[in-house]
Amino acid sequence: MTVREKGYTHWEGELKESRWVWFPLTRLGIKMAFQKRFFKLFYFSTFLPALIFLAGIYISERLEDFRFMLRGSPAFLKITPNYFKIYLSNSLFLFILVLVMIFVGGGLIADDLRFNALQLYFARPLRKIDYVIGKMATLSFFILLLSLVPGVLFILFKLLFAGNLVFLRHYPWLPLAVVGYSLVLTLFFAAYALALSALSRNNRYASLMIFGVYFISDIIFNIFYQNFHHPYLVLLSLKLNLQQVAAGLFGLSPPYAVPWSLSLGVLLGLVFLAFVILQKRIRSVEVVK
C-alpha cells in the first residue's frame, strides 16, 4: 500500500515561456465584465443598431417588397460605403463605445492600483507590455465585437442576399476599410480608456474622466466653431476626429474640409500619449518619496 505523502507537494511540470502570457488577463477581464448583470443587459442592447442596419441591407435587396414603406426615398437604402460609415461612426455609436469603456475600462487598471494587484502580476515573468496588451485586448474584444464583426457581417449578408458578388466588385477595398477603421477605433478607445483608468486609483473618478474628456473636447469644438467657423478646429474634438477618419477610410469626403490624415495623426498622437502615461503609471510598487 502506498500512502499519500503529507504536507507540501511539488508540481511535476514545466513552466513555459509563452508569447501569449497576456491572454489570461484578457480572458479574466472579459469574464469579469460579463459578471455584472447590468452590463450584460446593456451590452446586448447595443447590438440593436447593428440589427437595424442588417435589416436595412435585407430591405435594400428586396426593395420591391417594401416599396409601400419607403414613400419615395429609396436613396437611403442604397448600400454604399456611406452606409458602413454611418453605422461605424454615428454619434450614438461612438457614445455607446464611450459607455462600454466606462463600464469595462474604468476599473481595469484603477482597481489593480487600488488593491495593489500589480505586485502580484509582476512577480511573474510578465512584462509591463504584456500587462498592457492583456488589458487592451479586453477592451478590444468589446469594441471589435461591436464594430468589426457587424461590419464584416454586413458585407457577407449583402452578398448573400444579393446572391452575387456585384457589390464587392464595385467596392473591392471595402473589407479593408472596415478592418482598418475598426482597428483605429479599437486602438484609440482602448488606449484612451486605459490611460485614464491608470491615472487614478479610483474606478469612479476614472469613469468620470473617460466620460468628461470625450465630451468636453466636443463641446469646446462646438463653441469654437460657432465663433470661428474654422474647419481645422475639428482636430479638437475626439468624436469628430473619429468621424473624419471614418469618412476618409471609406472613400468619402469628410464632413469638415480638413485632410482626414491630420485627424488620424491627432488620434495616433493621443494613443502615443496614452502609452506614455501607462508607462509612467504602471509600476510594480508605488514609490513615494
Binding site: I102, R204, F211, F228
Partner: protein
Amino acid sequence: MAIRSLSRQPSGVFWASWRDVFKFYFFLGTHSRRPKLFFLLSLVPLAMAIIFKGSQIIYGYPRFSGLFIYSNMIMMFFLQFLILLLTLFFGTSVCREEVEGKTLPYIVTRPLHKIAFLLGKYTAYTLLVSIMIIFSLTLSFIIMNLDRLGDLSLYKVLLRDGGVLLLGIWCYAALFTFLGVIFKKAIFFGLLFSFGWENIIQYFPGKTQKLAVVHYLKSLLPPLSQEGFPFLLFRLEPTPRGEAILILLGLTFFFLGLSCALFAGKEFIIEA
C-alpha cells in the same frame, strides 16, 4: 470622574461641529491633489475666453459681441457641463470619500454631530466649487467684455449669472450628496441623471420639462439667441422667476434634509 465637556449646550456642539468640520474639509480640499485637477477643469472656459478675445482683438474675429459669446456659449458651458461635473465629484465625495477611503472612523469618533458633519462638509465642498466657478466665470466675463468694462449695466448680467450658477451648484451638490449617501455607485447614477435625464427632459414640451433641475435654472436666464445653439432652444416654457428660485432652494433643502436624515441613521460598515 469629571467629564469636562459633557455639560456643554447641545446646540453649541452642533455649531462648533459645523464650523470645525467646515474648516477641516476646506483645508483638505485646498491641500489634496484630486481637487486640483478639477480646478484646472474649471479654468477651461477662461482659456476659451482668452482665445476668443485675443482673436477678436488681433483679427477682429469672431464677429459676435463679447457679451453674446459669453452668455450663449461660455455661460452655457458652465451651466450645462462644468457645474454638473464638479458637483458630481464633490457632492458624491461628501459621504463616499469617507467610506471608500476608510476614513469615516476618524470622523465619527470625534465629538461631532453627524448632521453637522454632513452639512459642514457639504458647505466646505460646495463653497470650494463655488469659488472655482465664480472665479473662472468672473474672469471669463471680464475678458469677454474688455471693451466695455465701463458699462455698469453689464455687471447685472454677471451678478445674475453668478447667482444662477450658485443656485445650481448648491442644488446639484445637495442632490449628489444624497446619491452619495444612498448608493455605492453614486457616480454612475449621477452621470445618468446629469447627462441623460437633465439633458433630455429639459427639451420636452409642456410640464414634463419641469422635472429637470436645469429647467428652473434656465428660467432665470433670458431666452438664448437663436443664433448660438438652435437645437438647445426649442420650447423652453419658463417658470416664473420667484417660483423657480423657491423651487431650487426647496430642492436643495429637501435633498440635504434627506441626506442628513439618512446619514445620521445609517451605519457604514468599513471592513479592515
